[in-house]
């Protein structure tokens, strides 16, 4: 799916990374536990999380994850956007629950990491 299609499917909005809306994403992982994300060993997936803080962005940076979708209508801080921009990330947010977002994106063909 492209980032644009993910936004449409989730009713989300883009916080930074607008020029990358045509990027293709093939796999996703859901977690609020960052240590789980750090075990993945694969890059360029979509991280779906309800953890809206700087550590979610830092975790994605270390794990080579460029795409983050914040669920459950969380606020995004300027600090998060700054670090995301520094790392050329695409940061999205939406109002839906993690379960609903995962279900919708799976239906559209996004694959799980495992």
């Amino acid at each position: 799916m492209t980032i644009k299609e993910i936004l449409k499917a989730t009713g989300g909005e883009i916080c930074c990374g607008e020029p990358r809306q045509q990027d293709q994403v093939f796999r996703a992982f859901c977690s609020d536990l960052m240590s789980d994300v750090l075990t993945l060993g694969c890059s360029d997936i979509l991280l779906i999380t309800g953890l809206a803080n700087l550590q979610a962005i830092r975790t994605a940076e270390m794990a080579d994850i460029s795409y983050i979708l914040l669920v459950r209508d969380k606020n995004v801080t300027e600090e998060m956007i700054t670090v995301a921009k520094e790392n050329n990330m695409v940061l999205l947010r939406c109002k839906s629950s993690m379960f609903k977002v995962a279900g919708e994106l799976f239906r559209y063909g996004l694959e799980p990491v495992y």
């Binding site: 609020d32 536990l33 960052m34 060993g41 550590q55």
Partner: protein, 137 residues
Amino acid sequence: MDFSYSISGGDFTHAGEASSHLKKILKSLNLDAALIRRTVVALYEAEVNIVAHAWNGKVKVDIQPGEIRIQVKDSGPGIRDIGLAMQKGYSTASLTVREMGFGAGMGLSNIQENSDTLEIHSEPGVGTELLMVNKIN
């Protein structure tokens, strides 16, 4: 090439800055992407451990032609039972740490899995020292 970073206990705002800086350096050296990821993931977990459990700490990185050596030394409560602390799921983390997305008892095991060699020394009431080494092929 060597450099060092200071880490403050409880300072989640700056947790990860040392790892972020190291990642930029390793990328500038054109090292293998998987090696960079493993190295910075190990250091990031170690940084979070200092922020979560210790009073302060110091990270020393030494990049040699054949390996990356990272020493992480903190002043803090130390680890009473290293074998137990290495077990996935064992945690003494506070609610605050858990709210930051960590503290599920995976830090040390993640560090081990992302290091070619790992040495841990700890003295209860004094602090903990990690030596992580990753080979550069």
